[in-house]
């Protein structure tokens, strides 16, 4: 049964006590309190099995949007739904169906690569946890690093372990926050390929927040979040951006 996440007419804002000039998106009050609105009246639909990339400048609210989609935060206004077939429920029901991948990997330093991957399964009471973790290690090409701790792995290897850990319990959606942000271009490409391939193989929806147009271009659906507005971007736009990005890299 195919699932999807839908955000309807959502907006997100928060109170800030930092004094400063009045920006286009903020309403200052007398006591230096400001309401900062990240985005307003936003609609978005995420389908299981498909890939999505959200790009945009820092501070635009990409990660906040990710938190809303995953149901970990509530929107200021508007609603989010988790739809399974014909049945619609709140995003609270999505909790057990999602996995995360972070820029800083966030592996537990005391555990070996194998045990880091087995972690979510062990917590779920899966008796085959280690066996499944071994299979996933193989899938991400790290069979020979099973008993190494994170400090003994390179950044790329750590992110592979993190990908395996996020997918090992077969979540319906994967949220990735700048998954290649800490890696060199070569490793970034490899990790991106593994990530997309694994999600596809597992029929998991993949939602990536990234600054990298190279990574974003690998997604089927690309969105840009800037000035409080979410706009769908065509792959041509991204290709252009990518060329600019590569030009900048080569001119450095």
């Amino acid at each position: 049964m195919s699932c999807s996440i839908e955000l309807k007419n959502v907006s997100q804002s928060f109170e800030s006590y930092v004094s400063g000039s009045k920006s286009s998106n903020s309403n200052s009050s007398e006591n230096n309190e400001a309401t900062i609105t990240l985005f307003e009246s936003l609609d978005l639909s995420i389908k299981q099995g498909q890939s999505y990339a959200i790009t945009g400048p820092s501070g635009a609210g990409k990660s906040s949007l990710l938190m809303l989609l995953s149901g970990l935060e509530k929107p200021t206004t508007g609603q989010g739904h988790f739809i399974e077939g014909n049945h619609s429920s709140t995003l609270d029901n999505l909790r057990s169906e999602i996995g995360f991948i972070f820029q800083q990997f966030h592996l537990l330093p005391e555990l070996t690569a194998l045990h880091n991957i087995a972690l979510p399964l062990k917590l779920r009471g899966d008796k085959q946890a280690i066996k499944k973790a071994e299979t996933w290690l193989e899938k991400v090409g790290l069979s020979n690093r099973a008993h190494h701790k994170p400090s003994q792995l390179s950044g790329g290897e750590q992110q592979r372990v993190a990908i395996a850990r996020a997918l090992v319990f077969s979540p319906k959606f994967i949220f990735a926050d700048e998954p290649t942000g800490n890696l060199d271009q070569h490793n970034a490409n490899e990790i991106a390929d593994i990530l997309f391939e694994c999600c596809k193989e597992n029929n998991a929806g993949l939602i990536i927040v990234t600054h990298s147009s190279v990574l974003a271009s690998k997604a089927k659906n690309i969105y840009s979040l800037a000035n409080g507005e979410l706009t769908k971007v065509t792959s041509n736009d991204v290709d252009n951006e990518q060329q600019v990005e590569e030009g900048q890299v080569s001119s450095c």
Binding site: F100, H106, L123
Partner: protein
């Protein structure tokens, strides 16, 4: 530049002021400083008091005391060292009046008394005290107000003593040589010297004191003369030690040992807090260096910050410790009359400086790490260096050195330190076993409990430090409380287990015969009687006691007075042999002795060592051939020193007896008859004994309760700091778990399970450690039989489990506030 750094340090200090690790550090340092300063100020007040007291209450420039009267030749020699000598006699006796009796210290003085100072008396209880310039007239007795009240006497009453009539003519208010009585609580009476002949007390029971007026050089000559000619005598002089000084020094040493335990706990807490400090300061220092600052800058800022933290504490600590000092002085003034509170700024400052130095040693690993830090540490954190371990070891050595310095009772210190070490090893072993076996056994299962065991096993090292810190605190608290409870129970049950309800501590042979006759006549149950000589140790291996050891201990304090030397053919039922060989029956070698084990340990004696005793003015040498300990269950009369029965043929001295009797309620009034005829029999009823125990217990209860409170406070801080040390790791773990699709309630459940397992390990370790310590210390040090009550143990286990778990969960609430969002970069 320096001022700039100071301003920077002040700025960062203010920013970090409310952070948990800074708060915890301030608490630990403040509690410990308040305790140490209060202790030092109180000790100093008492030392000062004792010194002044010695000058005012000796009643002479020097006083020579011994059991026997000086020969005329000795008296002539003594008079060579002084301008004036006044002789007084003293004996412990029992006064009877209208069927009541009261043990009393009776003094006989001549018309030349007092030598120096004021003798104060009054004509009635209500009359003002008047200075008196001679002792009572013949046939008169002056009694102190307590004795007057105790026997229901009035001025003018006639009392009978050794079948002689005495008229109570005055109330005795103050004797200038009162200090010589060692501030004991005996009731007091004075008669004229010439009456002593009529009373015909056994001569060997009379203590002779010679009050001497002499210059400092004459006092010095006197001491030299006494050491050579009268080794069994004792000289007190104005520049010497107060009779209570030794007692107080031992009390101080005990408190010192107690404060060592607190220092150990503080060290654990600071070590845990330092882990957080280390990371923060290392990171900050590396950032500074990456911005072009020198290594010294980071180090200086850290030092300044730490120092500002201490400076801020000092006023609070000084005010609070002065207040506590006032409370302690008010409490102690019940024992040390006229003790007054005084502010001592210099001593307070010195003690604060010493404490700060010790804290600096505990905190030094942080500074060493900063010294070794580099920008590369920004990329590779958590690198542990060997020198850091060395610094921590140094801190441990400092602690052990301070412990050794404070040690009074060698055996007790060794046992306490061994118990702590054994408990540490035990807890480490239990942690390792429970976590390893738990993880192995649950490998095939999944779920929250196996997962928690698995995570704890993976974090064995950091978890063990936490468990050890809390475990050790729990052990110390448990042992202190258990000891208090057991001591109270033992006191309470003394009446039931004691052998007889009337103890005779000294009865001459004639008096013993009278006791036997009296007990036969009234069908009183005479349980036991054991003979002894009075003997005084003057030399050990040909060295005087002062030359042999300078360490004060219970054993030394007892040996410097006359002890009871018992003889026996075979090993008594009340003893068991610890080392050496007990003598054969009718052994020809009579110059051998067995010493109690604690005395051997305290004085560092070995088998084969030679002790010189003065028994009835004769010197005898004995070799230690055995060592014994008390074996409960066969009676309560025990002796520290025992010799073969064949020795009595070679020693010419008066014999005395210890005995125990069991009297029923109707037989108590019959004692008056015995005492009237034999007032020098020294007996003490169990009621009196328990009354004394009760007052001692009340004091011990106050001291131990205060100490337990300190331990509880520090234990809480240890728990909080150990949680604080792991907080960032815990927070990350919870966030990661939530990123797998779990709720906060799952993290809470995991937290509860983890704290339950931690508490279980801690409780098992602490209870086992307490049990072992009980087995080790109770019997040998306090003659208590250690019988653990399993119901109490289960209740204790439950209390520890729930307290540690609840406290752990409460303190972990911050790490439960984590969220997946915190793991993201662009929040």
């Amino acid at each position: 530049m320096l001022i700039n750094h100071l301003q920077f340090a002040w700025h960062y200090f203010k920013q970090e002021y409310r952070q948990p690790h800074q708060k915890l550090l301030r608490w630990v340092q403040a509690i410990l400083m308040i305790f140490i300063i209060t202790l030092t100020l109180s000790s100093n007040t008492i030392q000062h008091y004792l010194h002044n007291n010695l000058n005012n209450l000796l009643g002479a420039d020097a006083v020579l005391t011994q059991k026997n009267k000086l020969t005329s030749k000795q008296l002539t020699s003594l008079e060579n060292f002084s301008e004036n000598v006044v002789n007084t006699l003293q004996i412990n006796t029992t006064l009877t009046f209208n069927g009541k009796w009261q043990s009393t210290k009776l003094k006989a003085v001549g018309n030349d008394y007092p030598l120096q100072g004021e003798l104060l008396t009054s004509l009635s209880l209500q009359s003002p005290a008047i200075a008196t310039y001679a002792g009572p007239a013949t046939g008169n007795v002056w009694v102190d107000s307590r004795l007057l009240a105790s026997l229901g006497l009035s001025i003018g009453d006639s009392i009978e003593l050794s079948e002689q009539e005495f008229i109570v003519s005055r109330v005795l208010i103050h004797e200038p040589d009162r200090l010589m009585e060692g501030h004991n609580v005996s009731m007091r009476a004075i008669v004229n010297m010439s009456d002593m002949k009529k009373l015909a007390f056994p001569l060997d029971l009379i203590q002779h004191s010679y009050l001497i007026s002499a210059s400092k050089s004459q006092v010095k000559q006197l001491i030299d003369w006494q050491e050579k000619q009268l080794p069994a005598a004792k000289v007190h002089h104005k520049s010497g030690a107060h009779p209570l000084a030794l007692f107080w020094q031992r009390t101080e040493n005990f408190l010192g040992l107690a404060s060592i335990i607190l220092f150990f706990m503080a060290a654990i807490a600071i070590e845990q807090i330092a882990q957080v400090h280390l990371k923060k300061e290392q990171y900050f220092s590396a950032i500074c260096m990456s911005l072009g600052a020198s290594k010294a800058t980071g180090l200086q800022l850290s030092l300044f910050k730490w120092f500002i933290n201490i400076l801020v504490l000092i006023p609070v600590v000084a005010i609070l410790s002065s207040a506590f000092h006032w409370v302690v002085v008010s409490w102690l003034s019940e024992t040390f009359v006229e003790l007054t509170w005084q502010l001592d700024v210099w001593l307070t400052a010195k003690t604060i400086a010493t404490s700060v130095l010790l804290f600096a040693v505990f905190h030094s690993p942080v500074w060493l790490t900063l010294y070794q830090t580099s920008v590369s540490k920004l990329f590779h954190q958590n690198q542990k260096s060997i020198s850091l371990t060395l610094v921590k070891l140094c801190a441990l050595v400092v602690l052990v050195l301070v412990a050794v310095k404070y040690s009074d009772n060698g055996l007790l210190t060794l046992m306490l330190v061994s118990s702590i070490l054994i408990t540490i090893m035990l807890i480490a072993f239990i942690s390792w076993t429970v976590l390893t076996l738990g993880e192995k056994c649950t490998q095939q299962f999944s779920g929250l409990v196996p997962f928690t065991l698995f995570m704890m096993k993976q974090r064995l090292l950091s978890k063990s430090t936490q468990i050890l810190g809390i475990g050790l605190s729990t052990f110390l608290l448990l042992f202190t409380l258990m000891f208090l409870k057991d001591l109270g129970n033992t006191m309470a049950s003394y009446q039931r287990t004691h052998d007889g309800n009337l103890m005779v501590s000294q009865a001459s042979e004639i008096e013993m015969d009278a006791i036997k006759e009296w007990s036969n006549k009234y069908d009183v149950n005479l349980r036991q009687s054991k003979p002894y000589f009075y003997a005084k140790v003057v030399k050990i291996n040909n060295l005087t006691l002062n030359e042999f050891t300078t360490k004060p201990s219970d054993s030394l304090a007892t040996l410097s007075k006359s002890i009871r030397l018992h003889w026996t053919q075979a090993l008594p039922n009340t003893n068991s042999l610890v080392q050496g060989k007990w003598w054969e029956k009718d052994s020809e070698n009579w110059q051998q002795i067995s010493l109690e084990e604690e005395v051997m340990t305290d004085l560092g004696l070995d088998l084969g060592d030679e002790l010189t005793f003065i028994i009835h003015q004769q010197s005898y040498n004995f070799t230690i051939t055995a060592s014994h300990v008390y074996k409960p269950g066969s009676g309560s009369i025990i002796f520290w020193v025992q010799m073969p029965q064949t020795a009595i043929e070679h020693i010419n001295a008066p014999q005395y007896n210890m005995a125990s009797l069991e009297l029923n309620d109707d037989q108590w009034p019959l004692l008056g008859e015995l005492w009237k005829k034999h007032p020098t029999i020294r007996m003490v009823s169990l009621q009196e004994l328990t009354k004394q125990f009760d007052s001692i217990l009340a004091m011990i209860t106050k001291v131990i309760s205060g100490f337990a409170l300190m331990i509880i406070l520090l234990a809480i801080i240890v728990i909080l700091s150990s949680i604080n040390a792991l907080e960032s790791k815990e927070k990350k773990k919870n966030s990661v778990i939530m990123s797998f699709g779990f709720l906060k309630s799952t993290c809470l459940q995991l937290n509860i399970i983890e704290w339950l397992i931690t508490a279980l390990i801690i409780a098992t370790g602490a209870i086992a450690g307490t049990y072992l310590t009980g087995m080790l210390i109770y019997q040998s040090q306090f003659s208590l039989i250690y019988q653990p009550d399993f119901l109490i143990l289960i209740i204790t286990l439950t209390i520890i489990l729930s307290t540690v778990t609840l406290l752990g969960i409460y303190a972990s609430r911050h790490s439960l506030k984590s969220s997946v969002k915190e793991l993201m970069v662009d929040v």
